[in-house]
């Protein structure tokens, strides 16, 4: 075959067409990149070209329910260096290292870094104003002091576990600071400018400024007046009993607002680095899980009453001091037993065999149904991090012994906040609330409420009638039973003691208990639920009634007064024994002369102040009942 010119001509034309076709494909591809991918590429390219100078927002403050600041910001200077402007890095490094207490080499590294602006982290950040002043005085070229802000906790170690703390970049690390970090931290602003690949500003492209949005202020349900009382009482108890740990919670039973929450050991949020992590990591009131002991009997009682398995006044029970359940012998805490009692007395005496009886009358299904209904075995859902769930027997593994021990609070593990929420439901008419701590979000500029948390009822557990009987029974526990230490005259405190043996590696420890008391007041219309638990108090009988009840009594008395709750005229009077100090009504001393005072016969001490002959002021006021031998302060003046 001979290749002719015809073939060459044909093939040349074919080459031309193929060439045109390939050029067309390339042109289509160009269009695809510019139109279909254009937007995506432009976005990415803008990211590449733009440089952001961040503007930090102000972190939202945390306030108590009355506006008392609990976490705020203070200005804190930071050192910035511009490496290119530094004339003598070695000398500058030495001077800075001196003031900042850091190795010279480390400063030198910062000073010679190839960057436009360098922060000396962390030594040169958020330094004291004195140090900043010293650095300014040196007048070093390329070294600048920039204003920065630092978290400040005005109360120190106070509500620490709840508040938590924020880190050096004002980021929430623990507690509410972490839980609500997003709301508190606001949004970073920036100046965005376009630059070339060498960092220089690109001509003809406008800068874009996005202003930072400050974080919202957080108003808590916490009342600092109540919190201060909790902290004070725990401080006193700490010196008295040197316990391993302590917990106190105060809640409004009618809506689930936490008014106070404290624990020991505690820490100062400003100094968290010097505290073992297990101290600041564990918010004991919601984290710790242990056998509740007798405080749990309230739940058994509530179930039995609601199911009409018991009549507190008419039904009687004989306690021999122990009870046999499926071959096991369970003892009452009182050796020899309480003898014959009404079930009201069973409650007052916290008699274990009596509650075993109530448990049997209910049966395991009903008993556990109520335990779960009261919120045990699940998180309460409080807005704090690290909440525990507690441990319940799975129903199929509950035999007669487990049923019996559960009825008086052993063999279950619960958290303090679960108990508070459950008891609140038992006394408030049966409504189980979700406890909460963040009440309102406020606009930092206008102070207007942006968002408000409303009380959340999870479910109704018991009827008002049952609740009323529980209040009555528990008031009698305080007035006449094991909880006398919590009695506050006029405030009708009701409550229940608890003493739980601590277990370690499946064995109960000897002489090592968590003693607790859960109380509420006033019994006619509860305003406050207070729970206190003391872990392994020393130098005392480890009974809830002895250690924890008086603490709750003190907290109740001062808190209710602070909250403006009026003392009641009607109350269940306290049954006194020879052990109890007698109460005396304070007489009216106003108007009496010194001479008159000497003739008065009463068993009270006087604390006299002021010049003059006549009593013009006295505290406490006439009619208030105090212990025998208590002190009355009087102020003398001249007769008008």
């Amino acid at each position: 075959m001979r290749v002719s010119y015809v073939t060459v001509r044909k093939r040349l034309t074919l080459v031309l067409l193929i060439g045109f076709f390939i050029f067309a494909i390339i042109d289509v591809r160009l269009g695809y990149v510019q139109f279909a991918l254009g937007e995506m590429l432009t976005e990415r390219a803008k990211d590449l070209w733009s440089r952001n100078i961040p503007f930090e927002p102000e972190r939202g403050e945390i306030l108590d329910r009355n506006g008392v600041p609990l976490a705020t910001n203070v200005s804190a200077p930071s050192v910035l260096v511009v490496p290119r402007q530094i004339e003598n890095p070695a000398e500058t490094a030495e001077k800075l290292a001196n003031i900042l207490n850091m190795p010279v080499e480390k400063v030198y590294k910062h000073l010679t870094k190839k960057t436009s602006i360098e922060r000396i982290h962390p030594e040169g950040r958020k330094i004291s104003h004195e140090k900043a002043k010293e650095i300014r005085a040196l007048g070093l070229k390329g070294v600048y002091i920039a204003e920065d802000s630092k978290r400040y906790y005005p109360f120190g170690s106070y509500l620490s576990h709840v508040l938590g703390f924020a880190g050096i970049d004002n980021q929430g690390l623990m507690g509410l600071e972490l839980y609500y970090d997003k709301e508190l931290s606001g949004q970073k602003g920036s100046v965005q400018f376009y630059s070339d690949a060498k960092g220089k500003r690109m001509p003809d492209m406008a800068d874009a400024y996005t202003s930072p949005v400050d974080g919202l202020n957080l108003k808590l349900t916490i009342d600092t007046r109540v919190q201060t009382i909790l902290e004070r009482e725990l401080d006193i108890a700490e010196t008295t009993y040197r316990p391993d740990g302590m917990i106190a919670i105060a809640m409004n039973p009618n809506n689930g607002e936490i008014l106070g929450m404290a624990s020991r050991p505690t820490f100062d949020p400003a100094d968290f680095q010097n505290v073992p992590p297990e101290v600041f990591n564990r918010n004991l009131p919601i984290w710790s899980t242990y056998e509740p002991g007798s405080t749990f009997k309230i739940i058994t009682l509530a179930a039995a009453l609601e199911e009409k398995k018991v009549d507190l006044l008419r039904d009687h029970f004989y306690d021999s001091g122990h009870v046999h359940v499926a071959g096991a012998t369970l003892h009452c805490w009182k050796r020899g037993g309480h003898g014959s009692q009404s079930f009201l007395e069973v409650v007052q005496n916290s008699c274990n065999p009596g509650f075993v009886e109530l448990g049997e009358r209910l049966g395991k299904e009903k008993l556990f149904e109520y335990i779960k209904a009261f919120g045990f075995g699940e998180k309460t859902g409080i807005d704090l991090q690290g909440e525990g769930k507690g441990i319940l027997f799975p129903l199929h593994r509950v035999g007669p012994v487990e049923q019996a021990t559960t009825a008086f609070g052993q063999g279950v593990a619960v958290t303090p906040i679960q108990q508070v929420a459950a008891v609140a439901a038992a006394v408030n008419g049966g409504f189980l609330y979700t406890p909460y701590i963040a009440k309102e979000w406020l606009d930092p500029v206008t102070g207007e409420v942006v968002r408000r948390q409303t009380p959340q009822v999870k479910r109704r557990v018991i009827s008002e009638e049952t609740s009323k009987q529980i209040r009555y029974a528990l008031e009698s526990v305080v007035a006449q039973g094991t909880g006398k230490g919590a009695f506050v005259d006029g405030y009708r405190v009701g409550g229940k003691t608890g003493t739980a043996q601590k277990a370690k590696d499946g064995q109960y420890l000897k002489n090592n208990h968590i003693v607790s008391f859960i109380g509420f007041a006033p019994a006619d219309a509860p305003q406050l639920v207070v729970y206190v638990a003391v872990d392994n108090p020393k130098g005392t009988v480890q009974f809830g009634g002895v250690v924890a009840a008086p603490i709750v009594g003190n907290i109740m008395e001062d808190s209710l007064r602070a909250l403006g709750v009026k003392p009641r005229k009607e109350q269940m009077e306290k049954e006194t024994t020879w052990l109890d100090p007698r109460l005396v009504k304070i007489p009216n001393l106003i108007g009496l002369t010194k001479k008159d005072l000497q003739q008065q016969l009463f068993n009270l001490k006087l604390d006299v102040s002021g010049e003059g002959d006549v009593v013009i002021e006295q505290a406490p006021e006439p009619g208030v009942k105090v212990k025998e031998g208590a002190t009355i302060r009087i102020y003398l003046g001249t007769k008008r």
Partner: protein, 366 residues
């Protein structure tokens, strides 16, 4: 045998000058920022390119007046010289390494790329060989195999530098020439398989080529390494849109796209002049291709025809590969865009080639 000389293809000159003008403007626009930064003279590259263009134009008119049969006479000698140069360039000390390839023989500022000249010498020689042995072309043993062997020896030598871009253009050009000369289609199909296998083997033998391949498929896999140029190129083209950001308004030339005046100049052009500008350039190259093939069709003898198609195929293939790379259709190979990219060697050679093409057109009868 020599017919009467008439006027050269005027339209081809116009197209060439248009591309040259666009190239000069774009070299200035793309390089100004970089030139100012490096040499404190924003016209640094533009001035040199203008000089190269002047030299190139003189060369073009010079070669336009040298009868193209001269190249047939000297074809063998030129080819041997080029082979010698290809060996010399591999010797360290003689050959200069730029961008990882030993491709340059340096005599001060006037350094040349032997592989570029090899392309031309090969086109000239192959045109001679094919026109003289046209009857044997359909035979695999006598026609196809000798010509291909020669081409692949040259290709192998170029790949020793290595310079995949130039090598590919040369092989592509030669295949087009052999195809036009009348090789059997069935031979091509068979060779295509061999070629693909060979190319894959070549790519697999050097890891950096694998990276180039993968980075072209997804440049964002390694945005700071192998995908860097591709991404920077797309960041230039993408925002260009239909009309572009306007002449001189490129952002990617601000040090983002490295050496924007050379291989990736089309990206800056598409950024500043948009789809319209890019399409116009493609249209000009299509017209160039048309004029080139037209000259091949009108050439008075087979030698002229093959020489013309070789030259125009070389230009067109180089354009296709360059713009294919810039728009992300192909892996990065490192090849200039004829008439537009900055670079003396490339530009003067291209204009010389056009000069030869113009000379053929003077004898063409359509």
């Amino acid at each position: 045998m020599h017919g009467k000389r008439s006027a050269p293809d005027f339209l081809l000159i116009i197209i060439t000058f248009s591309l040259l003008a666009i190239g000069l403007v774009m070299v200035y626009s793309a390089s100004a920022v970089w030139a100012d930064y490096k040499f404190h003279d924003s016209f640094f590259f533009a001035k040199r390119q203008l000089l190269f263009a002047a030299v190139g134009i003189i060369a073009m008119f010079f070669f336009m007046n040298i009868d193209y049969w001269t190249w047939r006479t000297w074809a063998k000698v030129l080819l041997i010289i080029c082979f010698i140069l290809l060996v010399l360039v591999l010797i360290p000390g003689v050959g200069v390494v730029r961008n990882g390839s030993r491709s340059w023989i340096g005599i001060g500022a006037f350094s040349i790329q032997p592989s570029e000249f090899m392309k031309m010498a090969m086109i000239s020689f192959l045109a001679k060989f094919l026109s003289e042995n046209q009857k044997k072309i359909p035979s695999f043993k006598k026609g196809l195999l000798p010509s291909l062997t020669l081409v692949f020896v040259a290709f192998a030598m170029i790949m020793l530098q290595p310079d995949l871009g130039t090598g590919t253009v040369m092989v592509g050009t030669c295949i087009v020439m052999i195809f036009v000369a009348g090789a059997r289609i069935s031979h091509f199909v068979g060779l295509a398989f061999v070629g693909i296998a060979g190319f894959v083997g070549l790519v697999l033998s050097a890891p950096y080529r694998i990276k180039r391949i993968t980075s072209f498929l997804n440049p964002w896999e390694d945005p700071l390494g192998s995908g860097f140029q591709m991404i920077q190129s797309l960041y230039a083209i993408g925002p260009g849109g239909l009309f572009g950001l306007g002449l001189g308004q490129s952002r990617q030339k601000f040090f983002y796209l490295p050496e924007p005046q050379t291989d990736f100049i089309f990206a800056i052009l598409a950024e500043e002049l948009g789809f319209i500008g890019g399409s116009l350039v493609l249209l000009l190259f299509s017209l160039l291709l048309w004029r080139g093939v037209r000259i091949a069709l009108g050439a008075p003898d087979l030698y002229g025809s093959f020489l013309a198609v070789g030259i125009i195929a070389m230009i067109a293939i180089q354009v296709m590969i360059n713009i294919g790379v810039v728009t992300g259709l192909m892996p990065v190979t490192g090849i200039t865009l004829p008439f537009l990219s900055y670079g003396g060697s490339s530009l003067t050679l291209m204009l010389m080639a056009i000069g030869v093409l113009l000379n053929i057109s003077r004898y063409a009868r359509y």
